[in-house]
């Protein structure tokens, strides 16, 4: 939307429209924003207040997750909005822009800033910034139990006095202090307390320009609630604030405090007056701009330090156990082996643990298929309808759910456990050097870790990477870590073909090593492709800085693990897969049951693909299965079996022995298995992942690249294997 043309008054949207908050129509809800540094237990506070009354979405127009929830206290209703965790509101990252715009323009009735009591000084930096934007702030000193363990005591009264805002000490994990937090939220929302936040001291060199700007802003916009802060941001040349001020929907929301104003009597500032202010800021700031950001942050920290010194008493010499854990988990000798062992344990638990539930789920779902079949027959449905719906669409779905759900329901909670424990940032720390070499970011390792569960989830997980260039690299290469949908195929091939080539005493070791080798090969390809992308393509660029915080190790929480892993990850991904798998099942059935001449469409297509398949060590049936299974890798093997048996529907065999026999009869050798494993590792992302890539990048070009690049690599690698294998063996 252009910001230069004059907007008619009726364009002005309310806060609820701009930030897409659906407040209740039947009763009044106060809007509470939850702000804070990352790793302060902010989400624990959020969960403790809202329980299961929450839902996840995105911020309007951004791929940044937003959590929103409701709670009631003393018969009043509250809407809690969780802002992205940020260290500051000054660096203008997307997260910070969202948090700041919401506090500034969304004008929540109360903003609760959650801070880590063990690290109060740095956290106060953010508190002081927020308290400049709004008066309605509550400081929530969380993790007070952890502070106690570390012999740190926090003086609530002293903080309240110095900061001029209500302060609550909480330990969200045990629920301590939450009632007091709710009481203070209530008192503030009802206007019973009116905080007068401590006014930060502006550095000497900035005093005059800030004062001049502030008085002009007051003159132009008498209702602007925080002119000094806006003056400061304009002097700092903050483009995002300029944009927001020139925006026809945000500025009016800032100026019109009374939400009952009708659109006719809202103040809509004219553009010339806004431009006048911008010019003034540019002139005043010429002398100070290069140093002003430093000066400002330094003075914030000076204030923070002074306030902390009065409020916090810390006993020295306390041994902190996570230091010793870090000595081990990130040590030169044990760091990487410990990581690989941990990864293997996670895989082992996932694969072994999923076997039985998968089988039970499959039995159950296929029994329903029989019932459906009978029901369709009873209703005299034509055979093709029964076939298409029951043996095509339903069977495809049943297959995907039974193969996909159990491993994900095990993998994601374990992964979330490690995330919650604080181990994942250490993985990025351990491996960053490799990613730096390839021009990418260490955090890519975390997205890859998630990719082992599901590549679509892995693609979403790349959101933690700030640089758009590095994030795209992480998105494009996530495909090279095998997901849960591909593990069963890889394991089956490794044990039926590769392990069988070894003496039986060594066979299980051989199978396991094959899997490890394939996985490491995927990591190698990831690094090489990242290097290629960052040196030879339009994603060229130096790797940016690393700069991550390694939070203290913390006991993970059951609720968060349960909620995040099952609702946010497993069910989300499962739903997307179901939507995709249904048509694939139907298509598969149609291909196998429509005949032209003597052969089915499936057979014709497989014949057509045969030469291409053979050139890369596979065959036509396998390639066709890969095309049909674009929506879900889970149905690859059943589709291949269907093709070989010329059956009318996806099929499974009762024993591994029969399976191997069928494959051998159709010309498979160890080379076929190796080529297929490599093809499975490399080929292209499933359609769920492709759709996620598009949603995250909003770019057709990069979505196409994410498919074609892996496909060419898969063909090249398999071609080389197929052509050199006969020379070697």
């Amino acid at each position: 939307m252009s910001t230069t043309c004059a907007m008619p008054n009726n364009i002005v949207r309310t806060r609820e429209q701009v930030f897409q908050i659906n407040l209740s129509k039947t009763h009044h809800e106060s809007v509470i924003a939850l702000a804070g540094n990352p790793n302060t237990g902010k989400s624990t506070i959020f969960n403790a207040l809202t329980g299961l009354n929450q839902h996840t979405g995105n911020w309007p127009g951004k791929t940044v997750k937003r959590m929103e929830g409701k709670f009631r206290f003393h018969d009043r209703h509250y809407r809690l909005i969780d802002l992205p965790g940020t260290y500051s509101l000054l660096s203008t990252s997307t997260d910070e822009e969202i948090a700041r715009n919401f506090v500034l323009f969304g004008k929540p009735d109360v903003t609760v800033v959650v801070v880590d009591s063990t690290c109060l000084e740095r956290n106060l930096n953010l508190v002081l910034q927020i308290a400049q934007i709004t008066n309605n702030v509550i400081l929530c000193c969380n993790l007070i139990d952890e502070a106690k363990r570390k012999s740190i005591s926090v003086d609530q009264k002293s903080l309240e006095q110095d900061l001029g805002i209500p302060v609550v000490l909480t330990s969200a994990r045990s629920g301590d202090g939450l009632d007091e937090l709710k009481q203070k939220i209530e008192a503030l929302a009802m206007g019973q307390i009116r905080p007068q936040p401590f006014a930060v001291s502006y550095p000497h060199a900035l005093k005059e320009p800030v004062e001049t700007m502030t008085s002009s802003l007051r003159e132009l916009f008498p209702t602007l609630p925080n002119p000094a802060w806006v003056a400061m941001r304009l002097l700092d040349g903050d483009e995002k604030i300029k944009e927001a001020l020139a925006s026809p929907e945000l500025l009016p929301s800032l100026l019109n405090n009374d939400s009952n104003l009708t659109s006719e009597n809202r103040i809509v500032p004219s553009n010339p007056s806004v431009n006048k202010i911008f010019n003034m800021a540019d002139q005043l700031s010429q002398s100070v701009r290069p140093v002003m950001h430093d000066l400002f942050v330094e003075s914030l920290f000076e204030d923070a330090q002074r306030i902390t010194r009065r409020a916090v008493v810390k006993k020295n010499g306390v041994r902190i156990w996570d230091n010793s854990l870090d000595r081990f988990l990130t040590s030169r000798v044990f760091g990487i082996p410990a990581m690989l062992i941990l990864l293997s344990v996670v895989f082992f638990l996932t694969i072994e643990g999923a076997n039985i539930p998968s089988q039970i789920l499959a039995d159950w779902l296929f029994q329903i298929e029989d019932l459906l079949d009978q029901a369709f027959n009873y209703l005299n449905a034509p055979w093709w309808l029964t076939g298409f719906i029951v043996h095509g669409v339903y069977r495809g779905l049943a297959w995907v759910i039974s193969v996909m759900l159990p491993p994900m329901a095990i993998f994601f909670p374990i992964f979330t456990f490690l995330e919650d424990f604080g181990y994942l940032p250490r993985v990025a720390f351990n491996l960053d050097r490799l990613f730096k070499w390839s021009g990418a970011h260490g955090k890519q390792a975390l997205a890859m870790g998630m990719g082992f569960g599901c590549n679509a989830a892995g693609v979403i997980a790349t959101r933690i990477i700030d640089s758009p260039r590095e994030r795209l690299i992480a998105i494009i290469t996530n495909n090279f870590v095998p997901c849960n949908g591909r593990w069963p195929t890889l394991i089956m091939l490794a044990s039926l073909f590769v392990a069988a080539a070894f003496p039986s005493a060594l066979s299980s070791v051989a199978a396991a090593s094959t899997i490890v080798f394939i996985t490491l090969f995927g990591v190698l390809i990831t690094l090489l492709v990242s290097k290629f992308l960052s040196t030879r393509t339009s994603l060229r660029g130096e790797s940016s800085f690393f700069q991550i915080e390694l939070p203290p190790y913390r006991r993970p929480q059951f609720f968060r693990i349960f909620y995040t892993s099952l609702i946010d990850r497993t069910l989300l991904v499962l739903w997307r897969a179901i939507v995709m798998a249904a048509p694939a099942g139907g298509l598969c059935w149609l291909l196998a049951n429509i005949y032209i001449g003597q052969y089915s469409l499936f057979a014709h297509a497989a014949n057509f693909l045969q030469p291409l398949g053979q050139a890369i060590g596979l065959d036509g049936v396998i390639l066709l299965a890969y095309i049909i299974a674009i929506p879900a890798n889970e149905i690859i093997v059943p589709t291949i079996i269907m093709g070989y048996m010329a059956a009318g529907q996806m099929t499974e065999l009762d024993s591994d022995f029969e399976l191997k026999q069928l494959f051998v009869q159709n010309g498979w050798s160890v080379m076929t298995a190796v080529s297929l494993m490599l093809f499975s590792l490399l080929h292209y992302p499933c359609s769920t992942t492709t759709m996620t890539i598009w949603k995250e990048t909003r770019s057709v070009k990069w979505t196409v690249v994410s498919n074609l690049l892996p496909l060419s690599i898969a063909f090249a690698v398999c071609f080389i294997v197929a052509q050199t294998w006969p020379l070697l063996f």
Partner: protein, 84 residues
């Protein structure tokens, strides 16, 4: 006392931050983490592959690459005896 690069700080030494010769968004991020003049800083842990390094600053553990710490200058204020 002479300034050294943060990347040259050894385990067991405590230093005061003096100058950051990095500009733009990276400088702002460092400031947000509390990398301001006279902040105390200590080496906590080096990555198994030698880089990045985690530092204690303002009560938190922040990891930085050598590319960054080569441009941050500090003054050693204390040598601890370290028994490893």
């Amino acid at each position: 006392m002479a300034l050294i690069k943060l990347s040259e700080l050894s385990y067991g030494q405590t230093a005061a931050l003096k100058e950051i010769k990095i500009n733009g968004i990276q400088r702002r991020r460092l400031l947000d983490f509390g990398f301001i003049k006279d902040s105390e800083i200590r080496v906590a842990q080096r990555s198994p592959l030698g880089d990045p390094t985690a530092y204690w600053i303002k009560g938190a553990l922040i990891a930085l690459r050598k590319e960054e710490t080569d441009h941050i200058f500090v003054e050693i204020i204390k040598h601890d005896k370290v028994n490893l």
